[in-house]
Amino acid sequence: MNISVAGENSLMIYFGEETSPVVSARVQHAVHLLEEAFGSVLIDMVPSYASLLVIYDLFRTDIHTIRPQIREVLAGLDQVEVQEGALVELPVYYSLESGPDLQALADRADLGVDDVIQLHQAQEYRVYAIGFAPGFAYLGQVDERIAAPRLSTPRQKVPRGAVGIADRQTAIYPTASPGGWNLIGLCPQPMFDPNADPSMPVQVGDRVRFKGIDRQSFLELGGML
């Protein structure tokens, strides 16, 4: 673990050079430990793949006070038997109708469409980061065989709930937006709802499994085509 300066009131804690389920779980655990220890002295935190940005109130503490305190609170994090994040199952309607890049992805991998769908569901993913847009969760890692670079020309509009693949990451677009990920299906479950508590079904460090559903179940669950 390495704690370095990011800005006037921000520290960056690095938990490793690369991401991995163990590193990601440490990030998640650190968020809880720091929240508990510092409360409102921390203005905000940004957990990501292998790091945690901590923003503190410089009128209530200072760098020479909080840095050693953080070190102390997180001491032993490397040794702690890390708790697995919660397992969240998300339904996906995989089809050529709901996944406009499914066929291209299958051709690219020299696989059948059903194989791509199968491989996407076979993996347990971890939420490595949330960003880009409210509720956009980066999940890793997809099977190497169905990994694919972003589209050379991003789409002007990707529908809400679209499930995409970019390199070895997969994600669900929480709202309609422009985007360049390869789309393979649609998820009827809202990924970001400001009026719900919690607003997102997942947080950084959680585990995700996708479960294929048919067209009718998709519509019954509130999905729209």
């Binding site: 370095s4 300066v5 990011a6 800005g7 006037e8 009131n9 921000s10 960056m12 690369e18 991401t19 968020v31 203005i43 905000d44 935190m45 940004v46 957990p47 990501s48 793949y49 292998a50 790091s51 945690l52 940005l53 923003i55 410089l58 009128f59 200072d62 760098i63 020479h64 980061a129 949330i130 960003g131 880009f132 847009a133 409210p134 509720g135 956009f136 980066y138 709202t175 970001f192 400001p194 009026n195 719900a196 508590d197 919690p198 607003s199 997102m200 947080q203 950084v204």
Partner: protein
């Protein structure tokens, strides 16, 4: 945390309002900002120039962080349907009430039927329009701040539109206050930005760091509330990209073309470009008042100096005495 919309609007006095006749180029409802929601991917928003925002609220006798309007460039026309006080602080936009010229950095009485116009800025970019008691806007994730990219905050997640109605409170007995002239900020065409080294600083060679700190950069016309883009000597990092990580206010991001971007209020929460360090927030506010084509240069300070500068600035703000006007 939840974003459940928390309405504080008092319907009983909802006829105490301002009506937007012309919204101007870009007018946004802002409070202090949205904090504690970074982990959901939400940015902070908030006033791009907090000092001018705080003065506008203070001159109305408000808590410093209550909802006000951030008027970029100018062109706002409002009609009052309430008796209250207003103040405009920040960029020098000609202010008139019923076509009579009025001072910025000073609160003024308004009454129903008054027409308040803000012209286009001569100096600076952003001005803050505050009203006694603040605008009564529902909060989302604890804040009214508008982040257009996220459709978050404000009246409906966007900038003000003609016909929008801005609820507030009646204020019959408040005194009007002014900030004495000598204390009003000046908005020029140049700023020296103080930098706290950090992040991937060590991924930039000493030569590249010298290059960055010894050159002047121009503010690009493609700047917005997400970030201020600069044009000038290209800076190369020894690394292409990094594993995406949290971006703090003022972070100096160096994309592959080498032209620095200073990240501001509406920045994305995470990103994968290398960063040289971060600009002192008080100087980011200065930057937010610079028109395209203005020049900036950088100087290094330590994080300890940054803390001291903040404490001094805060006590200075408290010590400055307003005067009746």
């Amino acid at each position: 945390m939840t974003g459940v919309v928390n309405s504080t609007v008092n319907n009983a006095v909802s006829n105490s309002v301002f009506i937007v006749e012309q919204p101007g180029m870009l007018t946004l409802i802002q409070d202090e900002g949205r904090f504690g929601a970074h982990s959901l991917g939400l940015s902070t928003g908030g006033p791009a120039d907090p000092l001018a925002f705080h003065w506008a609220n203070r001159l109305c006798g408000n808590e410093l962080g209550v909802s006000a309007l951030e008027v970029s460039v100018g062109g706002l026309v409002l009609e009052a349907n309430v008796t209250t006080r207003i103040a405009v602080c920040g960029a020098y936009m000609p202010l008139t009430i019923n076509h009579r010229e009025k001072s910025l950095w000073c609160s003024h009485h308004v009454k129903p039927g008054d027409r308040i116009e803000l012209g286009f800025a001569n100096e600076g970019v952003r001005a803050y329009f505050a009203v006694a008691g603040g605008f009564d806007i529902p909060t989302i994730f604890g804040s009214t701040s508008t982040v257009v990219r996220e459709s978050m905050g404000g009246l409906n997640g966007g900038k003000l539109q003609s016909g929008d109605v801005l609820p507030c409170k009646e204020d019959l007995n408040g005194r009007c206050l002014m900030l004495p002239r000598g204390y009003r900020p000046l908005y020029g065409h140049h700023a020296m930005l103080r930098v706290i080294p950090g992040y991937q600083q060590h991924s930039f060679s000493r030569q590249q760091q010298r290059r960055f700190f010894s050159h002047e950069y121009f503010v690009s016309a493609y700047s917005d509330r997400m970030g201020c883009r600069l044009e000038g000597a290209a800076i190369r990092a020894d690394i292409g990209g990094i594993l995406s990580e949290g971006i703090c206010y003022g972070a100096i991001q160096i994309p592959p073309d080498g032209q620095p971007i200073i990240l501001m209020n509406d920045r994305q929460t995470i990103g994968g470009y290398p960063k040289l360090g971060s600009v002192l927030s008080l100087d980011v506010a200065q930057l937010a008042q610079l028109k395209p084509g203005s020049k900036v240069s950088f100087e290094l300070i330590t994080v300890e100096e940054a803390h001291n500068i903040h404490h001094l600035a805060a006590s200075y703000f408290e010590q400055v005495k307003t005067e009746p006007c």
